[in-house]
Amino acid sequence: MSANPVFVSRRTFVGGLVIALGLPACSSKHQGAAGNNSLESSAWLRIGTDDSITFQCDRSEMGQGVYTSLAMLIAEELGVGLQKIKVEFAPPGDQFHNNLLGGQVTGGSTSVRDAWEKLRRAGATARHLLITAAAAEWDVDARSCRVEDGVIVSPSYEKLRFGQVADAASRLPVPKDVPLKPRSEFTLIGQPQKRKDTPSKIDGSAIFGIDVRLPDMLYASLAQPPMLGGSVKTFNDEKARSMPGIKAVILTSSGIAVIADSWWRARQARDQLKIEWDAGPNAALNDTTISQLLRKGAAGAGRVARNDGDAAAAIKGSKTVYRADYELPLLAHATLEPQNCTTDVRPDGVDIHVPTQVQQIAQAAAAKAAGVDLGKVRVHTTFLGGGFGRRLEVDFIPAAVEASKAMKRPVKLLWTREDDMTHDAYRPPAFDQVAGAFDDKGKLVAWNLHLTGPSITARMFPAVVEKAVDPFAVEAAANYLYDVPNVHVDFQQQEIGIDVGYWRSVSHALNCFVVESFMDELAFSQRQSPLEFRKALLEKQPRMLKVLKLVTKEAYYGYPPKGCYHGLAVMEGYGTYMATVAEIFLQNGKAKIRRMYCALDCGQQVNPDTVVAQVESSINFGLSALMWGEINIQNGRVQQTNFDRYKVLRMDDAARIDTYVVDSEEAPGGVGEPATALVAPAVCNAIYAATGRRLRSLPLTRHGLA
């Protein structure tokens, strides 16, 4: 969006002021349910005559803190304390599009970046209207009035609360381009604020999808084909139906749903189903065939993501060329809250209560499953028990809708952990070939990175990749930051027969591992320190150099404690510059992480405490994947079913993490994901320092190191 957002306001039927994004009339196809199509439902901000201030948060809260940070953007410009703002989750609506992703999507570490301008402007516009209304009442110049925590104050110290002028404000013309506060006047932005969702998350009252309870609700457990891509051939439900509390057994589009008066009863009866499965197209798929597919696919020339100079010629002309192949496994998201959806299909409309990152796609999936128009489906977003990209998928919604439709009652469909782990859209595997060439003076003159893997975007948003390289396959690769004259990066799409999905930091985590590991290899090939080698090639990247210098200073890089080893990685992703040092030691031949240091320049911070929390979270997410993360496929079946075989980080393996955030006036960068991507290369580079072993595949368990 080039121009500033244009807002509309209106007096609501209950009185008060609402501020919504103005849209061309023809563009609204994803509205809320009929009757819910009012300005209120599409408004970010409602100011009631009772002084209530409600912010409809159009991004999902999955731990990353938008419930607080986005409310801060409104509060800063509106001129109220953060505690005065009540937060609700917004319904689907085109007004809530994420301009960076082209739909109402929470993902890609975009929430603050996308909202930065829009929500501050919404707050400022509301404030302008309220002040103007108050000034008119006092018959003074609006410019002489000010706002103090929800109260407008006149030059002669008369006071009007927001609620007292909200009605009058709603009748005023909405100004365009209301100016925003300069950074020097921020009182909230950049100051650590307590998370608004913490109280409800420490007393059990926060409502996640799994917690939704509707009157007369039934519970469903779904038997899905154990082989990915399989289907139900026949089934016998005689025994299941005879068990206590069982109301029905129905065949849905994604498996057999057992419906009961409690979830546990449904789950027990499900075990008594006798099902014959059609194995489908993946009956012979296993880890080896996937690896072979990728290696075969790698023979093709992929779509070009970056082409500076002539890398092929430079490599051909060089006497000093290094090459390596890197390989990465499938990974599950394993959100701690298993997938679930609570639905109520009635003749007058459909309600779905769902922890989702994609309200509009969820709405469309429910409408299709119920056989109703989009406008008949109301989406109620709950708190998300983890997102990490898993809840960009809506695969668990249709069966829930079909079950409620069949039962004519509300139904809560809940997957087991095993359902969740064996029916994920997995992080894509990768087979990547990389080469670097030096000239006679030892200068790195060519970099060639040939990536091969399946494309998530080709399935999710095919239009994006119709003619272009998948942008979510070449992150942290196409933006190669090192000053090398000849750079070639391409991505060869090679499908593997199963769905792959966006997983925290998406291709950053795949590609940063290759880029930063191989940069280490190249440094050692020239007998240079990994730090000095990188620094010399980053002279034109001041933001990167700054965080690199900061983190290596804080970590005493190169001077690890006795028995410890350091590894380094850097990356720019989501508009954030980041450098990480891993400090490890060896214990009984296993790599143990002692400490992780991370420095970042994420531009202007909104809630600094959340920035730090997200770095810590991302690093720990990356550590799980690095050490143990691997989904294996045998005959089309996922072998890991629960946390016993899909190990994740626990308290006793959690290393100390030190985060250093550079004060920056640049536009905000994303922080929910990038730190995940630097973990594997930083730790593997430390392992090389410790053992001389260069790891070109993960996880560490494959190498006996975890």
């Binding site: 999955m62 969702d197 059990g204 095993e418 405490d609 690093i619 720990n620 946390f643 980080l649 626990r650």
Partner: protein, 153 residues
């Protein structure tokens, strides 16, 4: 009918004795603060206190509970005033928050038996509770802080 003592109240439920306490709490009694994560006592999201001891309610059949008091996150304190809850607020521990009921129940049981736990005590008492958001560093700090609050510091 099975009689249970939950959060100081006696309740009667009409379910099979093998039904896990977790589902009685959540679906029969509507106490949804206790979470389902794995169903195999691997993740700790369902941790409650049974007679003061932390147990995984997903693996606790109600037939085995008897008259032992059950405490869930809803019953830990009436007003978020338990030292662990205070510390959790002070350090803004939760992210997605899904595991935190279980973390808090494990942490409060630890402090009840060890008022001044060491890092090693925390490792062993908390290793059964998975946090996919990786809030471990803050959990550790908050347990130490709760110990201080409890001792009046």
């Amino acid at each position: 009918m099975t009689k249970l003592n939950v959060n100081g109240k006696t309740v009667e439920v009409d379910v099979e004795p093998e039904m896990p306490l977790l589902w009685v709490l959540r679906d029969t009694l509507g106490l949804t603060g206790t979470k389902f994560g794995c169903g195999m006592a691997l993740c700790g999201a369902c941790t409650v206190h049974l007679d003061g001891q932390p147990v995984r309610s997903c693996q606790t059949p109600i037939g085995s509970v008897g008259d032992k008091p059950v405490t869930t996150i809803e019953g830990l304190s009436p007003d978020r005033s338990h030292p662990v809850q205070q510390a959790w607020i002070e350090l803004d521990v939760p992210q997605c928050g899904y595991c935190q009921s279980g973390q808090i129940m494990s942490a409060s049981a630890l402090l009840a038996s060890k008022p001044q736990p060491s890092d090693a005590d925390i490792d062993s008492a908390m290793a059964g509770n998975i946090c996919r958001c990786g809030t471990y560093q803050r959990i550790r700090a908050a347990i130490h802080r709760a110990a201080e609050i409890k001792s009046g510091a």
